[in-house]
Symmetry: C2
Subunit: 194 residues, 2 copies
Amino acid sequence: MPVKAGERLDPEATKARILKAAAEVFGRRGIHATGINDIVEAAGASKLTIYKNFGSKEGLVEAVLTDRTHRVRAWHNVAVEAAPPGRDRILAVFDLVAEWYTEAGFRGCAMMNAATEDRGADGAPRRLAQDHLAFYRELFERLLTEAGAHDPRTTARQLVVVLEGATLISAVDQDPGLGAEARVIVETLLDAAF
Amino acid sequence: MPVKAGERLDPEATKARILKAAAEVFGRRGIHATGINDIVEAAGASKLTIYKNFGSKEGLVEAVLTDRTHRVRAWHNVAVEAAPPGRDRILAVFDLVAEWYTEAGFRGCAMMNAATEDRGADGAPRRLAQDHLAFYRELFERLLTEAGAHDPRTTARQLVVVLEGATLISAVDQDPGLGAEARVIVETLLDAAF
DNA sequence: GATAGATAGTACCGATCGTTCTCAACTTGG
DNA sequence: CCAAGTTGAGAACGATCGGTACTATCTATC
């Protein structure tokens, strides 16, 4: 059949629907383990529409990851703004990820997962994963500078290690408790950083 | 053709050769991206021999990961024994992984990578990854108890977060410098743990 | 030297993959 | 109301995948 009866024709909404469904299935089952037909089923979209919008599976993966990293950055920027200046803003980042770990079906960071699946290749996933890490480093360095840390750059890099380590282990062990553990580590590191 | 001319017939050595080659290719390109024919080529073994020894690709993957985790544990146990008792033994673990990060073609922890590729599935890779994390937790807890830390269990879990975070980032960024960074974090955490 | 086991090489099978194509049915805009 | 654009459903294609079967030829053992 054709277009669903009675529904509006909105290419932008269709594209967004595919992106959302693809992100969900890629995240849950892995990128390599997900076929285009799985996306078709999850998105309720046809192959034609998917390939018209994204060109290839590789293009869809890149679009999903790009969308994801932008959303994550926006979430963190908003949460940081909402917290009082100083060390609290750094802890707000870890409060946000601690909440994230408790979500049903939490499977870790999409960018790190994609880069891991693609290890060896020098494509978009690896690049986006590196950009994602760089975002965290710059965010932490900015917050640490504002708060008056002795060596913002070094401490920022340390916090990224803790963040990604906790995220990975929380996903592998399916243990939301890593959020609290990460917070304790961060408090110790911050105590030494001022 | 048959068996290579002039070579000794040693089933154990053949099995070990396949395991070594499979570990190398799986690590370099990823498990899903590696086909049985890639293993055939890398190991110089026939499909018949591979399937006679491991039953299936899944069986081969499990054998590779099991072999890997046992080797890693042995390396750490030896390195720890060689270090003087106390905090130095904990730092010896991180000195070992720092060296590991500098190896050409370093691609991160095979168990975490496999579990990430297999996310969603409850198979051998996830189980072996969890066992691998448990090994590190027990190792650190033992060393921290010996050294007289206040809360060995909590600190041990923190060290695993640092270890896996540094390993992941070192692999994604292809940056061996994470070894030194991890060491600094560990020293700070140890200062607070006694 | 005969027999049994191990192995490489290769052809092959069914399933699945990413991708392209066709067609019918719907909406949108003039 | 009609032409153009959009979409869903699915057939079809070539490639590749995991896995099996077969054969030839080597080694190991007695």
